[in-house]
Symmetry: D3
Subunit: 241 residues, 6 copies
């Protein structure tokens, strides 16, 4: 008999996911996304300017910043503002989020403005980056709706839907949407970002200890594809409310 | 007839205040405090170590860090972790919070451990530092209760209650608990921190434009005293739940 | 019989105060102010530019920076330029000095220029921030005189006089202008900034250990008012020389 | 007829690869690896200490740092030492290199010492991170041989071989080992790290513009697998010289 | 007829030099040195510890830090503490001062303690680094005397006297002790540090525009030698007071 | 009988010197210079802009940056990009290199562009700064040739040749071009930069332990003059290839 996963969930079962829009009042898009005990506040801010390298090119920009409140985790981690720099993990994650969102935006239709997705982890329990991408998509749509209501956009710059989930191998079986204890117990971990055409935007599989075979990769991708379809359904429902 | 204050509140009226304990799951104390649209998450983290200057002295330490999410405000402000340093305003506020909390703690009874109050502003509408102090007190009590339940403390290191509120002068009349539009409209602004013996822990009155007279100071302190008594009642109710 | 204060001074007695103008030759205003063994060099520098947020608004700016020479104190403190950042205390003090000076300047009359007050502590013995404000006022007046002699100003932008002093409670009695041993021995400490209309510009009272009552606050403010009147007389005499 | 790739190489053709050992004299392992015009100096340095989090645990550590000489590229890029921080791309790459190498090291057999792989790009033409991993493996083996010759190791801590290559999709066909013009021309880019058991250690596929389908992923992985087998043959030949 | 130098001094004439000891009260050595309008405060601070690389070796250390008050010069320069790093010029000068002083100290006789020379320029008019070295020697002697009076030293660690002066070529003639206008007018500039045996400790000659010949070097060194002898006489007189 | 120098070379003997041009492909000038086991890559990069202080003045700029690969030396040194700042030694050296090269450039003839010399030490064995200057001159000439071939320059901005060498005193005799063991064994060390008119551009002699007399200075300068003539011959040969 196979060992069940630490969370007791079925291998292909997502955690309870919720997506709350308009969570704070100032941002053009503001979403609190929860994947179980992982809670991330994703805000989308519109600024009527672009980075230097895009000035005068008629294109917009989508970027992201990621932060973790010091006590989002089991032991307090140092505040990056106090230590004076963002760590490598933070940089890696915020670059990933930004690429994922840019993959569904027509930057020319956006015009010379920047949308910044701020993803701040209020409480962490594994999978913060995939929750951040999934929530940021909804915040981004709200920010674009805000611009369209103001009449600032000729056409919708969003040409696809994006969501993300983590997968891994635990005791020989692939499992979906790892929480922190599962992430620590299984050595192979993969983050998958897909669009609504079931195409891959990012695949980041990492094996510090246990290298994984092609069939394991395939099984994990199958799980991720199904999980992302469920997440996209939840995004659509949230946006319809 | 006197001009009414921008928020429409009575001069001596607090905003709707709520204090939610156990808001996040990892911290020993975790409180979401709301003064109207100002929402601050205050967590208290216990670490079994002290700063170098206290090592071996048998005393504990209480400190604070303050942060504002980039889109807590009407326009996005740069993330301090990205710009590489905490600004002067952040430093000033976190020093104030820490002093206020230390004023009610017997550091010898605490023993050689540090409690860090992290005050992160989720949404800002004026008065973030006074909300942070008021919420941090509750988070601190929860952290101490946690230590006492574990049997780590011989006696209660908390020897008083502390809360804070802002006051100001608007169109000639003193008003209590300023929101952001009020704070911008009136030139005199004072933050008051008191304990439950009605004694003053901090008084910080600032007049960039309009200098204030002793009788104005007195009127503002009277307002603050009453407001803080109400806040302390709310703290006690929250801690009794 | 009451215990006398550590310095042996009467409770309402200032230290020997001197204000030397034209102390260095390059700055438009340059004042060495001494409150007993606390010596602060205050220079006022005029620059024909304003910070970005004021550009094109027809207003000037007054700002301040504060520094302490590494061996101004009993034990050498690390040079902030070497450690790579200004500490919280430095930031807090320089923000206070700047606000105090701006309170007596009509920034529109100043025109689009910036005056920077650099307050560098040559030797410290308590009360460096209040000495810095008191000396900076004189340096500021000299810089304004310099501009008026050049014909750069239509009218005098200085519409008031400002000075500052510290007060505290020692062994139950309020005392004026604390030196370092007194500052260490008494737990309540307040810095008061006033103008020549006897109105308050800043009140910053702090009690880490001993919270103070309203009547103690009142007694300290009475002492401060008298002390500041004496300091303003010394400022006027220095400016008349 | 299909468009041929910019470099004129066959789709599954590596660039000319060379691996020169003992390139500099001080390091325990020192390898200049060339993938065409991409030249990376990989040195392995042994230090008899471990990071704090491993102290006293009887395990070693393998880490990596990555740098690019300012004029390794077509236009000069700012020196990270001068700008004061390592960028996100640098951090991401050095974390990748370190994980890849740790995947083939038994850290307990290494004992309490650290091996640092410094990968400095002398000249860049695409694929610097995969060249760095491929060269670092050889430098790592040389450093371990050095330790074994000194008698510092009971057994060989290296339990596998690791190499890496990039793959992409250009004009609809998967191509191997992209140079810089190819990397710019094709929107999908994937870095693959494998061991000598043909198992995956890292898969990082990124599509900013063109999302990729599962069969494209499969084709790219097939190409990568064959390419990495060739690179491993070159590593073995270099180590046998 | 030859052109006279800008200052009107004879080519071999020093500026008025004064050396005031015990200028501030806290430091073990505290000297205000004036070379004309160049005023530098040199303090020597003793700390009973050594840098890591000397720990347990029975030797002491002598180091220096250099700073310039923002308005020591004709136009205000940015405070290095605010900009977050010391510039190249500052680093170069403080390294020079430290080497000069170490050249006359027996670090074994000093024992495991550090003397830090802080050289802070109150007012600048050329030659700040040579004034700093000349003044620091006197501050160092005072700090050593302080240690000897406390009985902390078995023997005198100072085995020589050190002073420094600048020389240059102006309109074809070598001149001594350049002030700022002279330094700007002549392209060749040399700083010379010597001991009381007339031997050279540092020679730093720089020609951005006009390269200098050996006979010019010789003439400048002759001038410097005589100038340093005068400075050493002034040091001895100051130390005898 | 005199002791022979550690390297076994004759006192006036340079190490084997080689100058390889076009070492990397992107830079306008790219030279690998070797002084024995000291290997420095010197690239010259042309940018069509000048620093702020030169904007609109019709002059160009020549600057330099210096770096050392972490394992260029016997023990690994921390990467300056990771530690977040360039050390004093790095700053001092890059300022020296820049001044040396500017001494032979007519910045008006260069026009409003900047040439940056990046000197990166691949392997260090003493004398890196003098090798860097000697190699940078050749890289600079190649960059200027590149500009002239493009027709960007009316006339040659290079009006002289520059090279550099170190000299020292070992066991009483002056020696040329010190390698690392010699540099450590002899206490006096001097770096000399000269032009092809045998005039001095920089002389930097340092004696931490052993102060040097004028006749020793003269003997070292004689050695340096001859050594630099040989280096200039090698520069000319390299440029003629």
């Amino acid at each position: 008999m196979t060992q069940s996963r630490p969370s007791g969930r079925a291998p292909n079962q997502l955690r309870a996911v919720s997506i709350d829009r308009h969570y704070t009042k100032h941002a053009e898009g503001s979403v609190l996304v929860r994947f179980g005990d992982t809670h991330v506040l994703c805000t989308a801010s519109v600024e009527e300017k672009v980075p230097n390298f895009l000035r005068g090119k008629g294109e917009g920009w989508v970027t992201a910043e990621y932060g973790m409140l010091p006590r989002a985790t089991g032991t307090r981690s140092a505040r990056e503002a106090a230590s004076g720099k963002q760590g490598g993990r933070t940089m890696e994650i915020q670059r990933l989020i930004a690429r994922a969102l840019r993959a569904v935006v027509d930057r020319r239709a956006l015009g010379e403005r920047t949308i910044t997705l701020d993803c701040d982890v209020i409480q962490a329990d594994g999978g913060t980056r995939t929750a951040a991408i999934t929530g940021s998509y909804v915040a981004l749509v709200d920010a674009i709706r805000h611009l369209r209501q103001k009449g600032s956009l000729d056409r919708d710059p969003i040409h696809g839907q994006v969501a993300a989930v983590s997968v891994g191998i635990f005791a020989g079986i692939p499992i979906l949407d790892l929480d922190y204890p599962e992430d620590s117990a299984c050595e192979t971990d993969m983050n998958v970002v897909m669009n609504d055409a079931n195409a891959l935007i990012e695949v980041q599989g990492t094996a510090e200890g246990h290298a994984f075979r092609r069939q394991e990769l395939d099984a994990m991708l199958d799980l991720a594809t199904a999980g992302i379809q469920s997440l996209m359904q939840l995004q659509r429902e949230a946006l319809a409310r």
